[in-house]
Amino acid sequence: MALETRVYQKERTIKFGALLKASLADMYGSRFLARQLAERDIKAMYRQSYLGIVWAFIMPLTTAAVWIFLNSSGTIKLSDTGIPYPVYAFSGTLIWSIIVASINSPMTSTQAAKGILTKINFPKEALLLSGIYKLLFDTSIKILILVVFVLIYGVGLQWSLLLFPVAILGAIIFGTTVGLFLTPLGLLYKDIGKIITFGMQFLMYVTPVVYAIPKTGIMKTIMTWNPITPILLTARDLVVGFTPEYLNYFLLVLIVCIPLLFLGLIIYRISIPIIVERLSA
């Protein structure tokens, strides 16, 4: 067995295939590290907190509660959603929170590891993977809560619920792809993180999170074109047992996302040394 040889030099030509292969190989090779990091963060978070897991769904729950109150008190008038409004609102905010979390995940995971990034050479893809692990952990709890909600409001369990995780996986892939593209810049400038938080608040209102797409008007056009719409609607339809109306659009978004995700991974791999240099310089 020959010794593994590494060459470090200024990149001259970029071979996307080789980079992607290396990136995926590193991600596969660092499964244990990623799990260990995710486990560490999850344990540490819950060990130092009494409410623990509650924080995972308190935000979507309160947002939903506000809208449920606004609706039931007649403060605002929403068009019929076809299912009990609380289920509609809560499933919306919950799926939304998963998408937001997955957009933020690559950046926060990398940012949190700043200290070791500048000192130790390890497969950086492990950070992304550990972010996804944490995301899956949070998400599975959220899904359980959602199932309870669905049962309480008498929508009943549907067979389609089994496909719900697939839709959520789509949401995570979409979010991670977007997040990956924002990460390199976001690590350099704090502004990016703020813009994401800020922008997502507005984006929520052009996505059918707490109200349905209107029948006509400019809002209908915006909401229909919004690529998050099919993800959210497909996921919700699967929970309540409707035939997913936007399934084709959903699949289209996914098909576009996957090559972009790979491109994001390549950019991430190239950009980390450049960023580490700026962080430690």
């Binding site: 593994e4 060459v7 030099q9 970029i14 344990k43 430690s280």
Partner: protein, 409 residues
Amino acid sequence: MPDKNHIISNTNDVLVKVEGLSKKFCKNLKTSLWYGVKDLISGVSGSGQERLLRPKEFWAVKDISFELRRGECLGLIGHNGAGKSTLLKILNGLINPDAGKITIKGRVGALIELGAGFNPILSGRENIYNNGAILGFSRRDIDGKLDEIIAFAELEEFIDMPVQHYSSGMKVRLGFAVAAQMEPDVLIIDEVLAVGDLGFILKCFKTIDTILPDTAVIFVSHSMPMVSRICSQIILMDQGCSQYQGENVSQAIDLYYTRFASNNSNIVFTDHSVQLKSLKILEAKGDEDLPQVRWMDDFKIKFEFQVLKDIQVPEFLITIFDKEQRPVAAFEQRKQEDQLFFKEDNLLSFTVTHKELQLSKGIYSLNVSVINQGSNEPILRINDALKFQVIHSKDIWPPLLLKAAYENC
């Protein structure tokens, strides 16, 4: 796995090859971030143009080349900010060079930060897994080495306690214990071993000694005793450039020290009653600045003091320091029978003699204290009053080379 490597690979393999390595940094944060954005774009689009200095940039590492084989140890020395750590970061693959090329063969282990990935809330045991995973161990590796790690760190009693309650020394011990399990082909050591108590430092060096013969080591330190003990070649860096490169470790260390040498003697204290007019070594060779004495020569120094106030003949304390500023010897104080007296013009002139000087090769300096004979109050204290060099063919680390004869009996 490394065992297999060791058998197959030739001991004369060049494990680390560095050719014309350069790296630039930016002095201004905002500009640096903006260059970062530009580099991101050119990095992704793969532009191959030559990298020149942009405004507000400087070379942190400039044109460094070396080769390192298995069993060799390269010492990187230089002042703070000379570019040593940057060079290590490039070697470790954390950042990319702006010019030049590095080829590294084999597993690279870095002792740059101990205990990376520790979470303060979690117990020592859990953190062994965290740290181990970051260093590239698998779960099975760690399971198998867990007891050894805990024993090496001497933390059996506290291993299930949250790491935030550990002392800093305990954390470092645990970190090193995990890192010591690496079996690297190339080992990069930054100034990490300075923490911890003496016993632990010795233990660390014992571990490093055992892996040295099978490993190419790159060692950054400000501690010259350690450098001279471990290293077989040296690069002395200054402002990113290599000032000295070669296998003459002691010469490099001397060069390093002369960069610190301030030639003016320092009067640390004086009550203005005496003044040192001159101080020199009699029968010395070499120039005025650095008189030279051969080993086993008689060491004779001549003092000339101007007395400004009416005082009794004081006492003299003369101490020899080595270049590390360690005191290595003191001269006996004046005895009853060694009568000294003032000459006319209030001059006090005398010699101090020590026969057969057995200081080992190197550069030394003299500190002189003058104290009042009766009250022992200080009158004058001069650090670095005189520098001199001891010449001998043999270079040893201890400050004394004692003359010895070996005979059968």
